[in-house]
Structures are given as structure tokens and as C-alpha cells.
């Protein structure tokens, strides 16, 4: 199947401060069926690749990104100019070695970096906004599988993901068991917990409480719901860190002042940091995408998709699994990873599991960690 890489600039309704993403775009040549029963017509997937695909297409590694991630895995982000989000892990000679592997990273559907999402233009010429169908993690993976078809990749050497990326990796393994030989899941889970859903709901309500959200129909307006989105990001960002990490980084130190001001400016360093994270995020992310993707994560429960028993999801799988958790991750704690491991054991799957020690909570998977590097390298090689 020929693939459309001449797509150039994807259609993108949202006025961005910087140039829109310039990744190649694959248009799925058939309507994409969704778990909701709806279908997505003319679905587009923006993606980046690194390395060279072997003639027999046996060396492909799919890396799945997290909630607010994108396809700029190991190349600079076109809006922020920052290095790729996992550049320390992916590249020539890195643990996921692009000298050996053809690494694919695609923007998930529902997102806003070139793949079809609420900011995309619908058939009537206006942005979908809240008319975009509600999607699931499995729908995202359905899109990724279509992309693999388009790229001529029948079976991945490995699928790798952290956090929501890990959910996609597990979903691929459970629903398309022949598409990946190795499945590496870092700081993730097989289901969203009540606590996870609760935090997401705080974020969604912050966006929806922003008058500029305007029921999601803000793409043509001067103002976007940046304040709501920033608050959502601030709340979520806390869950990516750990108390010890926050204490070490900020303590009770004040920001650019000697004494308390008895007011409500960002007096503490930690406040200043969160506000910076919040506003920075609004420059690169669409508020409606945040609603759709958090909803997809909340709906995620692999066991539920397989008759209520997680082991059933992996029965008969030939893939090798590696599950990694971090001891200070309270968003997707080690117990969730163990739950996956026990199910894989019960299904007779080849599984490795290690809990790594790191002070930085959930975000540890994105940060410097020699042990993680060795595990990823050893498993993916």
C-alpha cells in the first residue's frame, strides 16, 4: 500500500504562535471504526521516523507517546524548539538504537500535532471541536496499526511506551497480538484507577470552567481557554512528581524575594514553577485535545475489554513482555504493574518485571536513569 508522505502541512485549525508541525501525514485509506460505534472518516496520522527500515521490515520499533506527548520523539519540537521528548533514549548508539532499528513515533488520534483531533477540519469545513467522536486507547492503537499497515510493517520488533504510551503498547499486545514481538511498558497500568479518573476530571473541569472554552467552539475566537488548560496542566503536573522530589527541588523557598509578601503572587518557587509549566503548555497543546485524551485514558481497562479477566487479554500471546515501574510513582504505582505481571504469568507469557528506584515519581521514565537505559537496551536489542 503506497503511503502518502507528501502531505506537507496538515490541516490545522488552531492559530498557533509558531509554525505548525511539519511531520509526514498518513491518511488512513478507510473509515476508522471506533469503540463508541462511530467511524472516523479521512483519519490522518502525523508521524516521525528515525533510522532505516530493513528490506524485510523486521527492525521496526514503535514508540507510543504519553498524554501530552507527540511524535517528536528524538527530533526538536517545532513549536517549543526543545529537544525530542525521549532523545536520551532514542538515537544512534542509544538504548533504542536508530543505527539498528527503524523507530516510528506517531501522534495519537485526538491529539493536536497533525493527527486527526478536535482541532481538525471536519467535512463541513469547520473544526470538529466537540463534534469529534470520543475515542479510546484502543482506537488510538487502531490508528497506529493502520499506520503500520501503510508503512509495510507486519510485525514490530518491539512496541515501547511509558505512561499512556504503555497503555497503547499493552492494548496493541492484547488486541493485535501478532503485531509485536516485544512489548515494553514503563510506568503504566492495565486500567485507570478512580484516583486517576479523579485527577483527570479536575483538569477537564478547569478547562470547561474557563469562559473562553465556549463549549469547545473557540477555534475562530481571539481567546482560547488557556487559563483553564494551564490549571489542568498544573494539577496534572503535581501527579507526575513526588513529594520528595518537590521538596528537594523547591522546598519552601521563595521566588525572587527575601520575605513573604502577604499576597497571592507566585511567591513560592513551586508556585512559580507550576505556573510556568501551565502557561508553557498552552502554547503547544489544544484544550479540547486534553479533554478527549484524558477521557480515552479514563475509559481504559484492558480486562473489561476481555471479559473482566486481564489474563484473558494475553492468552496465547507469543510476545515477550517487560514491565517497569518506579518506586516513587504514585500515579501508576508498582502495584498496578504487578497486577499486569501476574496476569501475564497466569497467561503463560514471557514476562520480565523490575521496579526501579528513582526520586522523581511518575516522570522518572523521561529522566536520566542508567538502570532504565540498561533494561530498555537489553530488552529491545
Amino acid at each position: 500500500m503506497p503511503i502518502d508522505t507528501d502531505g506537507g502541512l496538515p490541516q490545522f485549525a488552531r492559530p498557533m504562535n509558531a509554525a505548525p508541525p511539519v511531520s509526514p501525514v498518513y491518511r488512513i485509506p478507510h473509515p476508522l471504526p471506533l469503540d463508541s460505534g462511530q467511524v472516523l472518516e479521512n483519519c490522518e496520522i502525523a508521524y516521525e521516523t528515525y533510522g532505516t527500515l530493513a528490506p524485510d521490515a523486521s527492525n521496526a520499533v514503535l514508540v507510543c507517546h504519553a498524554l501530552t506527548g507527540d511524535q517528536f520523539l528524538a527530533s526538536p519540537h517545532p513549536i517549543t524548539g526543545k529537544p525530542g521528548w525521549w532523545e536520551r533514549m532514542v538515537g544512534p548508539g542509544k538504548p533504542i538504537d536508530t543505527d539498528r532499528h527503524f523507530v516510528v513515533c506517531a501522534n495519537v488520534i485526538g491529539s493536536c500535532m497533525g493527527s486527526s483531533g478536535p482541532a481538525s477540519i471536519a467535512a463541513d469545513g469547520a473544526p470538529y471541536a466537540m463534534r469529534f467522536p470520543v475515542i479510546t486507547i484502543r482506537d488510538m492503537v487502531r490508528g497506529l496499526v493502520s499506520l503500520l499497515d501503510g508503512l509495510g510493517i507486519a510485525k514490530l520488533h518491539a512496541v515501547v511506551g511509558g505512561s499512556m504510551g504503555g497503555m497503547q503498547a499493552l492494548s496493541l499486545a492484547a488486541n493485535w497480538p501478532d503485531r509485536a514481538a516485544r512489548v515494553l511498558v514503563i510506568a503504566s497500568t492495565a486500567r485507570h484507577s478512580a484516583q486517576n479518573i479523579a485527577f483527570h476530571e479536575v483538569g477537564r473541569q478547569a478547562i470547561m470552567a474557563d469562559p473562553a472554552w465556549a463549549e469547545g467552539d473557540y477555534y475562530a475566537a481571539d481567546a482560547k481557554p488557556d487559563n483553564g488548560l494551564a490549571v489542568a496542566r498544573m494539577a496534572a503536573h503535581i501527579t507526575y512528581l513526588s513529594e520528595a522530589g518537590l521538596t528537594e527541588k523547591f522546598g519552601r523557598r521563595l521566588q525572587n524575594r527575601e520575605a513573604k509578601g502577604f499576597g497571592f503572587d507566585a511567591e513560592f518557587q513551586v508556585e512559580s514553577y507550576l505556573r510556568y509549566q501551565g502557561t508553557g503548555f498552552t502554547r503547544r497543546f489544544d484544550a479540547n485535545s486534553y479533554l478527549y485524551i484524558t477521557r480515552a485514558m479514563d475509559y481504559y481497562d484492558i480486562a473489561e475489554e476481555h471479559g473482566g479477566k486481564l489474563a484473558n487479554a494475553f492468552r496465547g500471546t507469543e510476545a515477550r513482555f517487560c514491565i517497569v515501574s518506579f518506586d516513587t510513582d504514585w500515579l501508576y504505582p508498582t502495584a498496578e504493574s504487578r497486577h499486569v505481571v501476574h496476569a501475564l504469568n497466569a497467561a503463560g507469557a514471557k514476562v520480565s518485571f523490575v521496579e526501579l528506584s528513582a526520586p522523581h515519581g511518575h516522570d522518572s521514565f523521561l529522566l536520566e536513569h542508567d538502570q532504565l537505559d540498561r533494561v530498555v537496551k537489553g530488552f529491545v536489542e
Binding site: 515477550r320 517487560c322 504487578r338 505481571v341 501476574h342 504469568n345 497466569a346 503463560g348 514471557k350 514476562v351 520480565s352 518485571f353 523490575v354 521496579e355 526501579l356 528506584s357 538502570q371 540498561r374 533494561v375 537496551k377 537489553g378 530488552f379 536489542e381
Partner: protein, 196 residues
């Protein structure tokens, strides 16, 4: 063949080729690697120490970080042809229950352990009057992980109580294989193959 500890070498030599094996307390995966390389086994491991698990995963072995006292319960019955517990029984919270689990999860079980009735241990206790520190048991009583010392005869008795048949047994003094007669005196280490 790589240089395996004598008890592991005995186990490696007697696991049927192509078997499914669970190595409990697999350490750095030396036995698993040997079984996969020379016997074509499908080997899985369990290890408590995360640093050792990382080394196993880095060498391509399927090893789960876990506590054998708790996590064996998650494996289905007879999921493996063999379960292997080397030099770990004496550290278990309940060695008797662990033996049950070994024979539930595996069709056969290999168990190796240091023999507390070896003459050196007896002599150290008898003449020194203190908890033995020997080449087979080199750690002092206050920091040893060996909380349930066991002798060859104790183990035979436990197997009998549990209705487990001793298929084969091997005994070692240092690197040297010794015979079964008087093993309870002469063996520093014992390896048993059990079935039920």
C-alpha cells in the same frame, strides 16, 4: 559450559531439554542462561533483588522482580515442567509451604540448600559453642538471611510429610560430588529432585 556453582551444574545437567523452567531466586540468571543456551529450555526467573533483575533483563532473560513467599501464588498449577529453588529454601518464611508451591507450579522441583548437619557446622557448634560461621554458611547469625536452617535428614522428612517423592539427589563437599551414604555428615550442599 560456563562455570556454574556445583549445585546449579547438577541441576542444569538433569533438566530435560526443551522444558519450561521457573528458577526462583535466579540471581544474575546464570542457570537460566545455561538452560536456554544448551538445553533449549524456556526459562523464567523470579528474583527479589532489583539490581540482579536488571542484569537478567539486560541479558535478555525473562525475570520478574518478586518475593517467592508471596508471588508464587500467582502462577497457575503445573505451569512449568520444573521449578528450581537453589540456596533459597532456608530463607523462606515458611519452607514447608514453599515446597507445596514448588510442586504445585511445577511437575518436578529441584531444591538445593546448605546442609546444617555437615560435620564442620556440628563441630563449630559443639566445640565453639557459638552459631557456626563456615565456608558454606559464611554469614553471622545476626545478619544471615538463613532463618530456617535445614539438614539433609530434615529435608527428607519434610518431603515425606508433604507426600513428595525424591526422584534423585546429589551431595557436594565444596566442589566435590560425594555419595549419599552419610551425606547428612559429609555434605556441605544437597540437591534434591522431587515430584508429587
Amino acid at each position: 559450559m560456563t562455570c556454574l556453582r556445583p549445585d546449579l551444574a547438577a541441576i542444569a545437567a538433569h533438566v530435560a531439554p526443551g522444558s519450561r523452567v521457573l528458577d526462583i531466586g535466579c540471581g544474575d540468571g546464570a542457570l537460566m542462561a545455561e538452560l536456554e543456551a544448551t538445553s533449549g529450555c524456556d526459562a523464567r526467573g523470579m528474583e527479589l533483588d532489583g539490581a540482579l533483575v536488571e542484569r537478567c533483563v539486560a541479558r535478555g532473560l525473562s525475570v520478574v522482580q518478586g518475593d517467592a513467599n508471596l508471588d508464587l501464588a500467582n502462577y497457575p498449577d503445573k505451569a512449568f515442567d520444573y521449578t528450581i529453588l537453589s540456596q533459597t529454601l532456608q530463607t523462606a518464611t515458611r519452607p514447608d509451604l514453599m515446597l507445596d508451591e514448588l510442586l504445585r507450579v511445577g511437575r518436578r522441583a529441584f531444591v538445593s540448600f546448605p546442609n546444617f548437619a555437615h560435620w564442620r557446622t556440628r563441630a563449630a557448634l559443639m566445640f565453639g559453642g557459638r552459631m557456626p560461621v563456615t565456608r558454606a554458611l559464611p554469614v553471622s547469625w545476626y545478619e544471615t538471611q538463613n532463618i530456617h536452617h535445614v539438614t539433609v535428614e530434615d529435608f527428607r522428612e519434610l518431603a515425606r510429610m508433604k507426600g513428595a517423592a525424591v526422584e534423585r539427589a546429589w551431595f557436594f563437599s565444596g566442589e566435590k560430588r560425594i555419595g549419599a551414604p552419610a551425606a547428612n555428615w559429609r555434605a556441605e550442599f544437597a540437591v534434591f529432585e522431587l515430584s508429587r
